[in-house]
C-alpha cells in the first residue's frame, strides 16, 4: 500500500442534502477526516432581518424539509418569548401532537429507507422489497402516518403555514383526532417488531470511543422533545439562554464552519443522546423496548442511534395515543396574542436528529438579530472523531473491504441534515 492515500466518498448517499467524506491516510493511520458540506450558503440569519415574527415563521422551516416543523416549533418558542406570548395548555398539547408526527415521519424515513439498506446489504429500500416486502410496506404505512399528522397540524405535508404565533389557525376535528389515535394503536405492533428487527442486527464495533451527549431537559418528569434547559452527560444543566457558552462554535483549519464542541470536545445529539440521558423516564412499551435493547455499548457507538430512533417511534406512537386522549377532553384552544413588541427569546426543541436552537431579538415588531444552531452543526465533529477511530482500527486489522461503507454508515447513523447545516461551508485558509 502507498505511504499516503486518500479515500473520498462523494456524494454521500441516503442523507438529506449534498455532502461527502474525505479521509486521508498516512503510514497506515488516519491522518485527516473531513465531513464535507457541499451545499451552497443560504444565509437565513441575514434573510430574516427586518421581517415580522409571522413572516419569519414562513421562511425558516425552508431551512429543512424533513424537520420543517421542528424549525417552526423552535422559532415559535423563541419568538413567543420575545414578544410575550403565553400559549394555553390545549395549544401546547396540539404542538406535542405535531412534534410526535414529525418524529414518526423522520425516524421511519431514516431507519427503514436511509439506514437499514446498509445493514441488509442493499443500495436502497425499494430494492429490499423483494425479500423484506412486508417490512417495506409497513414502513411506508408508518411514514405515511407521520406525514398525515404533519399535514393535519401543519396544514400541508411539508412547509404548512397552519402553526402561527400563539397557536394554530385551524384545528383538527375530534373525528380526525380519534382516527389518528386508532391508527397509532394499529401501528404500534410494527414499531415493536422493529425493536426486535434492530435488536437482531449485528452492529460493527470498530469505531467505538467515549463521547458526550446533550439534549433538552423536558419541563416535566417525563420523556419529551423540548425544554428550556440543556442537559449534558457530565450531569450539568444549563439555561437555554446561555447556549452560546455551552455549545462553543469554533473554526478549524480544514473547514471554516460553525463546528460545535462542549467542554472543548465533540458531542452527540439526537435520539441516542435523548435515550441515554432521559431513557429512565420512559414508560409503557417504550420503556420495555428500552430495557430490551439498551447496553453499555450505546455510550460508545453512534450506530445505536438507529435503535434509539426505533425506541422513540414506540414512544411517539404511545405519545400520540395519550395526547389525543387528553385533547378529546380539553377545552378549546385559543390563539394567544403578543403582549410586547420588543424583546429577546431563545427557543429550543429536539428535532428528530437533535437539539435545535433558534434565537431572536425583536425590536418594534421586526427581527433585528437571529441565530440558528442546528443539530448537524453540533455533531459534525463527533462524526469525524468516530470515523477517525474506526479508520485506525480497520487499518490496523487490515480490514479494508468496504471501508467506505463503514465510514458512510457512521455518518448516516446520525441522520445528518446537510441542508440545515449548509451555512457550514468548508473553506481553506489562504
Amino acid at each position: 500500500m502507498a505511504n499516503k492515500r486518500s479515500i473520498t466518498i462523494e456524494p454521500l448517499a441516503r442523507v438529506e442534502g449534498h455532502g461527502g467524506i474525505k479521509v486521508e491516510i498516512k503510514d497506515n493511520k488516519v491522518d485527516n477526516v473531513e465531513v464535507r458540506i457541499l451545499e451552497g450558503p443560504r444565509l437565513f440569519e441575514e434573510l430574516v432581518l427586518g421581517k415580522t415574527p409571522q413572516e419569519d415563521l414562513s421562511i425558516v422551516p425552508r431551512i429543512c424539509a424533513i424537520c420543517n416543523l421542528s424549525h417552526k416549533y423552535a422559532a415559535l418558542r423563541g419568538l413567543e418569548k420575545a414578544v410575550g406570548v403565553k400559549v394555553d395548555s390545549t395549544t401546547h398539547l396540539y404542538r406535542e401532537l405535531m412534534h410526535h408526527g414529525e418524529m414518526i415521519e423522520s425516524h421511519s424515513l431514516h431507519i427503514y429507507f436511509l439506514a437499514l439498506p446498509d445493514f441488509l446489504g442493499y443500495d436502497n429500500a425499494v430494492a429490499m422489497a423483494d425479500k423484506y416486502g412486508d417490512t417495506v410496506a409497513k414502513a411506508l404505512q408508518l411514514k405515511k402516518f407521520g406525514n398525515k399528522i404533519m399535514r393535519m397540524m401543519g396544514g400541508r405535508m411539508i412547509h404548512g403555514e397552519n402553526p402561527v404565533i400563539g397557536g394554530f389557525s385551524r384545528l383538527p376535528s375530534k373525528e380526525n383526532l380519534t382516527k389518528v389515535k386508532e391508527e397509532a394503536i394499529e401501528l404500534l405492533d410494527f414499531a415493536l417488531a422493529t425493536i426486535d428487527l434492530l435488536g437482531n442486527l449485528e452492529v460493527p464495533d470498530h469505531m467505538e470511543r467515549d463521547t458526550q451527549f446533550l439534549c433538552c431537559k423536558p419541563p416535566s418528569e417525563e420523556y419529551g422533545y423540548h425544554g428550556d434547559i440543556l442537559m449534558t452527560s457530565d450531569g450539568e444543566e444549563h439555561p437555554v439562554e446561555n447556549y452560546k457558552n455551552v455549545i462553543k462554535e469554533r473554526v478549524v483549519s480544514h473547514s471554516f464552519a460553525k463546528r460545535s464542541q462542549y467542554n472543548e470536545k465533540p458531542f452527540t445529539v439526537g435520539a441516542l443522546a435523548r435515550v441515554l440521558l432521559l431513557g429512565e423516564r420512559l414508560k409503557g412499551k417504550a420503556k420495555q423496548s428500552y430495557d430490551k435493547l439498551i447496553t453499555d455499548r450505546w455510550y460508545r457507538n453512534p450506530l445505536f442511534n438507529n435503535h434509539a430512533q426505533a425506541i422513540e417511534q414506540v414512544y411517539s406512537l404511545e405519545g400520540i395515543i395519550d395526547t389525543v386522549n387528553q385533547l378529546l377532553i380539553s377545552e378549546d384552544a385559543r390563539i394567544a396574542q403578543p403582549t410586547q413588541k420588543t424583546g429577546v427569546g431563545t427557543g429550543a426543541v429536539e428535532a428528530p436528529r437533535g437539539t435545535l436552537i433558534h434565537h431572536y431579538e425583536v425590536k418594534e415588531g421586526v427581527i433585528v438579530a437571529a441565530d440558528f444552531i442546528t443539530p448537524t452543526a453540533m455533531f459534525l465533529d463527533d462524526i469525524e472523531a468516530f470515523i477517525r477511530t474506526g479508520g485506525d482500527h480497520l487499518l490496523a486489522m487490515n480490514q479494508l473491504d468496504n471501508i467506505e461503507l463503514q465510514f458512510e454508515m457512521i455518518a448516516r447513523a446520525y441522520d445528518p441534515c446537510i441542508s440545515c447545516s449548509a451555512h457550514l461551508v468548508e473553506v481553506v485558509y489562504k
Binding site: R36, L43, N147, G155, R156, I158, E161, E408
Partner: protein, 258 residues
Amino acid sequence: MTTTDKPKVGIYGFTGCAGDQLLIIHTEDEILNLFGATNIQSFVMASSNPIEGDLDVAFIEGSVSTEEEKEHLQEIRKRSKILVAIGNCAVNGGPQAMYTDDGGYEKRLYKVYGEGVKFVSKPLEAKPIDTYVEVDYYLPGCPISQPQTFALISRLIHGTIPEPYPHPVCHECKLNENHCLLLDEKFCIGPITLGGCGSACPNHGLPCVGCWGPNEDGNFAQHLKLLESFGLTKEEIIRRIRGFGGSKIIKFIENGGK
C-alpha cells in the same frame, strides 16, 4: 419492459431544503411504481451507487449557489434529453434568492462567514437554474405537489408533452369556496402566485405567502395597488412579496407581467 428500455431518470438536489426530493420519497403509494416504471440512474437522497451517464429526463431541485453546482448542472444538461426544474428554488431561486441582484450579497456572505476566507467552491448568489442552462419544463412548488409531479413524470416517461397549468392560487381558492382574505384586507398574494398547492394556506384561513413563486399572467400592478390601499408602503409590500419570488417576481413587477 426490461430495465434497458425503461426511460433513464436522474433526480438531483442542489441548494435548498431537499423538500421536493423528499416529497417524491414521501409518495408512499407511488414510490414503488416510480422505481418500477423508470430506470432510476441517480437519486442520491434515496439510493447509493448512482450511475452518471446519458439520461432521458433529469429532475433538478435547488438553486445554483456555488461554482461547483453551476458546473455540475451544466454537465447534467449536456447528457440529458429533457431537463426539468422542480421546486421553487430551481424555478425562481427560492427564499435564498429573495435579495438576489440587490448588490448586497458579498456583505451578507462575509457577515455570516467572516472576512478573509477562501471557500472550497466559490459561493454564488442564489439563482434559478435557468440562469445557467436551458430548462425544458418547470414544476413549481414549495414543495412540489404530488398529483402534478406524477402527472408530469408519467407524461414524460411515455414520451408525451406535459400540460401547462397557468392558474393562480386564487383560482383554486375559489374552487374550494374559501372566504376571500383580501376582503378582510389581509396581505394575501394568491392572485399573483402560481397555483397547484390547492390553496393550502387560505384553506386554513391563512393568506398566501407566495411560496410557489410568481404566476406570469398575474396582474402585478393592480395587485400592488390593492395592497397599497390597505395602508402598506410600497417598500413593505415589495419586502414581503419577494420572500419566495426572488428576483424573478421583481422583474415581473417592473415589466407589468411577463
